[in-house]
């Protein structure tokens, strides 16, 4: 800066400082309001997860598989493949085919998950091996498991329906989950479990028709 710096320039510079400060103050404060609005609108339950008990390890035979319905309605196939008594024995895979959302099931003889809709297959780790998912390199979604004091837990999303029970009851509402043992019969039944062929299939439930479906209509406990 030199001596001959003219006075008006100083004036202009401070003028621009004032307007920049103004713009900054306005942007920061109203921007935060916008952020609050965004947080308000962001789906609330999606990030809520909880650990649910599946069953004691000693009651879960190696090689067996069961179907677990989460409180949010998704179904998970849980299989036990080893006897180490640790979490590595187990694999929990979403039973929803990543291709078009049909229900996959475990085929013991072929050691694979099979989706009857378009003959998609997945290996024991849920990696697509054949059919459309195999071609597209899609895998079955997996769930976190935990073994604690001889009990198997699964972490599942909750997507709370707080308003389903306006008459009171504990906060968060009442949800339901289910555990279904899968016998070999179930596994072989294949097409019978195919939700795509069943007109009453409810994708919210993802579980095909059954007692669980009826129950889910009645999420709120009668007062």
């Amino acid at each position: 800066m030199t001596d001959e710096t003219p006075a008006p320039e100083t004036d202009r510079r401070s003028f621009s400082f004032a307007s920049i400060a103004m713009a900054g103050g306005l942007a920061a404060s109203y921007g935060t309001v916008g952020y609050i609005g965004f947080q308000f609108l962001k789906p609330q339950g999606g990030s809520k997860r909880a650990w649910m008990l599946v069953k004691p390890l000693k009651e879960f035979a190696v090689g067996s598989s069961l179907r677990f319905r989460t409180p949010a309605g998704a179904t998970v196939n849980i299989t036990r493949r080893a006897d180490a008594g640790a979490v590595e024995d187990f694999k929990a895979l979403s039973s929803v085919c990543p291709h078009l959302g049909c229900q996959v099931h475990w085929e013991q003889q072929k050691n694979r998950y099979f989706c009857p809709c378009h003959n998609g297959t997945f290996d024991a780790d849920g990696v697509g091996t054949g059919g459309p998912p195999g071609d597209a390199g899609q895998s079955l979604g997996s769930f976190e498991l935990r073994v604690e004091r001889g009990l198997l837990y699964i972490e599942v999303p909750l997507e709370t329906l707080a308003m389903c029970d306006p008459e009171g009851g504990p906060e968060g509402g009442i949800q339901e989950m289910g555990i279904q043992e899968l016998s070999d019969d179930d596994a072989r039944r294949g097409p019978g479990l195919d939700p795509c062929l069943d007109p009453s299939f409810d994708p919210r439930n993802g579980n095909g028709p059954g007692p669980e479906l009826r129950r889910s209509d009645n999420g709120g406990r009668p007062a």
Partner: protein, 539 residues
Amino acid sequence: MSLRFKQLVIAVLGVMFLGSLVFVQYMEVLRKKHETAGRDAPVVVPDSSARCVDCHAQGNPGIVEQWEHSTHAHKGVGCVECHQANEGEADAFLHEGALIAAIVTPRDCGRCHQEVYDEFTRSHHARAGNILQSLDNFLAEVVEGKRDDTVDELEKFVFNPHGKTPGRGDFNMVNGEASAVLGCLQCHGSKVALEATNGGRLTLDDLQPDTTGKATNLAAIARIKKDENGKPKLHASTWPNTGIGRINLDGSRGSCSACHSRHDFSPRRARQPENCGKCHLGPDHPQKEIYEESKHGVAYRDLKDRMNLDGETWVLGQDYTAAPTCATCHMSGHSKNGGRITHDVGERISWTNRPPVSMPLDTDADRKVVTETDPVKRQALIADSWQDKRTRMQQVCANCHTGDYVNGFYKQYDDLVQLYNEKFAKPGQKIMAALKEQKLLTKRPFDESIEWTWFYLWHHEGRRARHGASMMAPDYTHWHGMYEVAERFYVHLIPQARELTHAARAAGNLAAGEAVDAVIDAILERPEHKGNIVEKRNH
């Protein structure tokens, strides 16, 4: 006001507004924290229990609502998970499509809580049901109630009221065991029985459950009385009962709901002294009152809101330090033992102050108190010594007290127990034994005054003194304890014993009278008794 000034004002106000929004953000964080601390977890009804919940929410809403506040409900553990029964269990019945039992035994809880089940099963708590032949039980059943051992099982406890109760024509025959049923057994635990077809009881002795809990005695099973729905009836003298040493039909011992009240199984409640106070109180074992008198109890009452009672974990020295409760010292995890909880309540207790004379708690492999006196044999029997137990307790103490302080306390405590044992308990025991030996007392307990006197001395006052000392309650140690022990000894026990010897001499039984008097004299000769009692010597 120039435009530039206005712009600066806007900038300043914008920053102030931002500040207020930061405060809003802070409040939101606080709210979120509060939310996750509270019980906002969703209630998850497993499909298996959906029908139970639907129906019982209307029939017995309390059960369902309590369950909704339990951790079970938040982790998806429903009704059937606990109440389900195996084929072959004596009290199982088919209810709305599920095979269930009304009583959930520790074996059932142990399906998931295996470690806790093992610890509890070997604990003194699980053996609390073994009072059936004790003095206390004799008092409740015979002296307070009506028991006739000469008649058959069905008649044994029948009490026939002598008068009529206006308005209650339905009183016919009454259970003479009522005081035991509602008193002793509600803490100690009943021997659960099914009603037999003849109205009698079928306990595990009759049903002979195998290791999986299934009844094996077909003859007994055939005698189980069932209602029109095939539901076996539990004998009303034994159920409802949540006594901690309940003897269950499946062979397991105890009741988890004694402390973990159904159906919310609240850890918060089990952490509080009031929970233990259901049983550990009163004239003969006032642990609850002793605790309240002690500094520990005073601090707890004051600082309850700093106890983190709702904490997911409750480790002394990590989650809280404000004060100890019963659970803190006897069961809970602490920072010095890696937070390991024990459900074996005796693991940290080094004296047993229950019997007339306190014993160091050396336990054998079966967790029974070693009574062997030969040092070598004794050492061989001990699996867990009193020193091991004391060390475990001292580790708890060390969370808040220095080593010298803790050792000093234990010296004071040991001294008092020894003083009581040697000055009053053993001499009293000796006098009572001499009277029995010389046949100056009948075999039957509680039919002579001196038997009540002696019972008061050790069972009530002596325990109060020792329990008071063990948990730092001065008034219970002295005025409710040793003072009354001394008074009972000098003013009641000795004169009553002398009365018996005088009576014996008067009746011509000189040898017996002299033998007992010699025992008493030898005791009173000792320096600690000298001059404490002036007797009229008329023999």
